[in-house]
Amino acid sequence: MNPTIVDAQLQPPPADGGPASPPPPGPAIVGTAVAALLVLALSGAVAAQVRAAGTRLEHPEKAPEGKVAIADHTEAPYCTPSFKTVLQRVLNSCGLVGADSARRGCQPADVKTFASISDSDFNALFTPLKDRGAVVLFDEASDQLDPDAKKLLEERWQDRRGARYFFVVARASRTGTPDRNRALSHKRANSVRMYLDEQFHDPDLDKQVGLLWLGNEFAQLDKSYCDWPSTRGGKACSGEAVNRSAFVSWVDCRL
């Protein structure tokens, strides 16, 4: 049975056979009132929510303590204040940072002055770089890089990770005149830099490579440095030979 027909049949029959009499207005008023109230209340609530968001936008809550880190270079544990002092002075002196940025390289005499520390303390600063860096060894009186030296240099250069600066600390000999040694260690430092330039054509090389060349008056290496990674590992090494070298390493410090 069709329920709607039942509905219609249950209505009181109209007197003139036409449509049923008008329904009482109550349900329509209730329905309209409920709809209107709901629409108005919810629209008001929506507007209030939007306004509240606008207020929060204008007066944001204090950011939580944990700030988002900013991309930066590595800061290794060996970056002690003493190390950073030397680093900063080397960078300034070598023209990598600071006002004197047109200048390249450092004078040997400067090292003693700017380092303001003893030979052994100066070398000790680089001890934590033993595994990060390497000792590039040269033949006596030579500034030529041999194939092993080139290979090791390439490896170390490409193992930059988060470092900012690449240090080259060249030495010449424990014997001989300081002038001659300075000139030779200067050439060795430049050999390293030039090879890196030729090999990698890195446009930022000048901003990254810090050169130090030492005469025999400061920070000479003793035989214990023969144990460091070097281009002639396993071969005979002496205190004299290990100073015919350039120590190279990326430095993981921020300034």
Binding site: N2, P3, S21, P22, P23, G26, L57
Partner: protein, 401 residues
């Protein structure tokens, strides 16, 4: 007493309208909360009143951030949520259904016919949104499903009312103008929340360009990846992580907006994985370094494909990444060929990835992904989801279709 079958359509319509109103209201209020450009919990439950979820990847958030959640997004920050129209419409149907319930058989024929026809409209909108969820979003938000079900129940009630009305006899028809008045009332009800929404929106324009610049726009080694697009009109720099869900979502939003093909993107890989990224002390996305290398190995021709594959397969790849790099590499090689194997481990690839990371350092960008720069102007993170289209309309209107 009337048979129960005579009353159930109106009662069902009332219940369905109330349910739809509740779900639509939660959805609208959640949307409104995000107008402060901050991240908030969102309600995502079939149970009205259940606590909001903080989960950043829940389906309701996905739906909310999608281009389909709101209208006029280019004109207003965040646009006007579709749910706000539903709030007004369901409120109208609550009142109308209540009238039908109370009036029973004394309701005019035109009221029943009107309800029978107009009560079907929410389900039409729901069917459209259902297919968008299915095809475009690939997920169903529970609040949305709540609205779909409410609309369906309303449609069932409306359909039955319509059938009954067409076969009824002797029922008073009601005034001929009433349907027009109801239609106007329905329109006004649906539009009022949206109109108030627009009227109370704050002005976002001063905020859009307040998030900084890219100080070093060019990577000196030329290491950044250029992704090919069909109609590049605007240079954009993106810092992305292949395993970052937010990066995937942004990429999908840019594609969904029809914007990506009009960008000229250079991509800096920024994997949040301590395996290669020294800026982290633990991996946020283990395996992201492997995938970043894979994208780099894709080179100019395949980088976009590899990146989009990483996004498409993100869940699987993230799981493999947690199980170890070897499994992830095997997956990459199985998809992209044996030549990828050598490239992944090549020192030159490591060097290139490092140049990407150093590019991030040079620009002092936050250690987070994704980050987008239109030219050198940083797009605030807060404007890369709800406000994306508005932001693009203001900062680079030429990229909008």
């Amino acid at each position: 007493m009337l048979p129960r079958t005579a009353r159930w359509p109106a009662t069902l319509a009332l219940v369905a309208s109330v349910l739809g109103l509740v779900f639509a209201s939660y959805s609208t209020f959640d949307y409104a909360a995000h107008l402060d450009r901050q991240l908030h919990a969102v309600h995502c439950s079939f149970i009205p009143g259940a606590p909001a979820s903080e989960d950043v990847n829940n389906a309701c958030r996905t739906a909310m951030y999608s281009p389909y959640a709101a209208l006029l997004r280019g004109q207003f920050w965040g646009g006007v949520p579709i749910a706000s129209f539903a709030v007004g419409a369901f409120a109208f149907f609550v009142g109308f259904a209540l009238w039908l319930v109370l009036a029973r058989e004394r309701s005019p024929l035109r009221a029943r016919l009107f309800f029978g026809v107009l009560g079907l409209t929410p389900v039409v909108a729901s069917v459209v949104m259902f297919f968008i969820s299915l095809v475009r979003l690939g997920s169903f938000c529970k609040l949305c499903v709540g609205i779909y079900v409410s609309s369906l129940l309303l449609a069932v009630a409306a359909g039955r009312t319509l059938m009954d009305a067409r076969s009824s006899v002797g029922v008073r028809p009601g005034h001929v103008a009433l349907p027009f008045a109801w239609l106007a009332a329905l329109g006004a009800s649906a539009l009022l929340p949206a109109a108030l929404w627009v009227a109370t929106l704050p002005d976002y324009r001063p905020l859009l360009a307040s998030c900084g610049k890219l100080p070093v726009a060019v990577e000196s080694h030329g290491a950044l990846l250029k992704l090919p697009t069909k109609e590049p009109r605007q240079a954009v720099t993106l810092f992305v992580d292949p395993l970052c869900p937010t990066c995937k979502a942004l990429h999908e939003r840019l594609l969904g907006e029809g914007v990506f093909e009009r960008l000229d993107p250079q991509v800096s890989m920024f994997p949040l994985d301590s395996d290669c990224n020294w800026m982290l002390d633990r991996p946020v996305h283990p395996g992201a370094c492997v995938l970043a290398r894979a994208v780099l190995c894709g080179g100019a021709s395949r980088a976009r494909q590899v990146l989009e594959w990483s996004y498409d397969e993100q869940e699987t790849l993230a799981k493999l990444g947690k199980d170890g790099a070897a499994l992830l590499k095997a997956k990459v090689v199985s998809r992209w060929g044996q030549d990828m194997a050598a490239c992944l481990d090549a020192r030159s690839t490591t060097l290139k990835l490092n140049q990407h990371l150093q590019f991030a350092v040079a620009n002092h960008v936050p250690v987070s992904t994704p980050q987008m720069f239109l030219g050198d102007q940083r797009v605030c993170d807060e404007d890369t989801d709800l406000g994306l289209r508005f932001t693009l309309a203001q900062l680079a209107p030429q990229v909008l279709p």
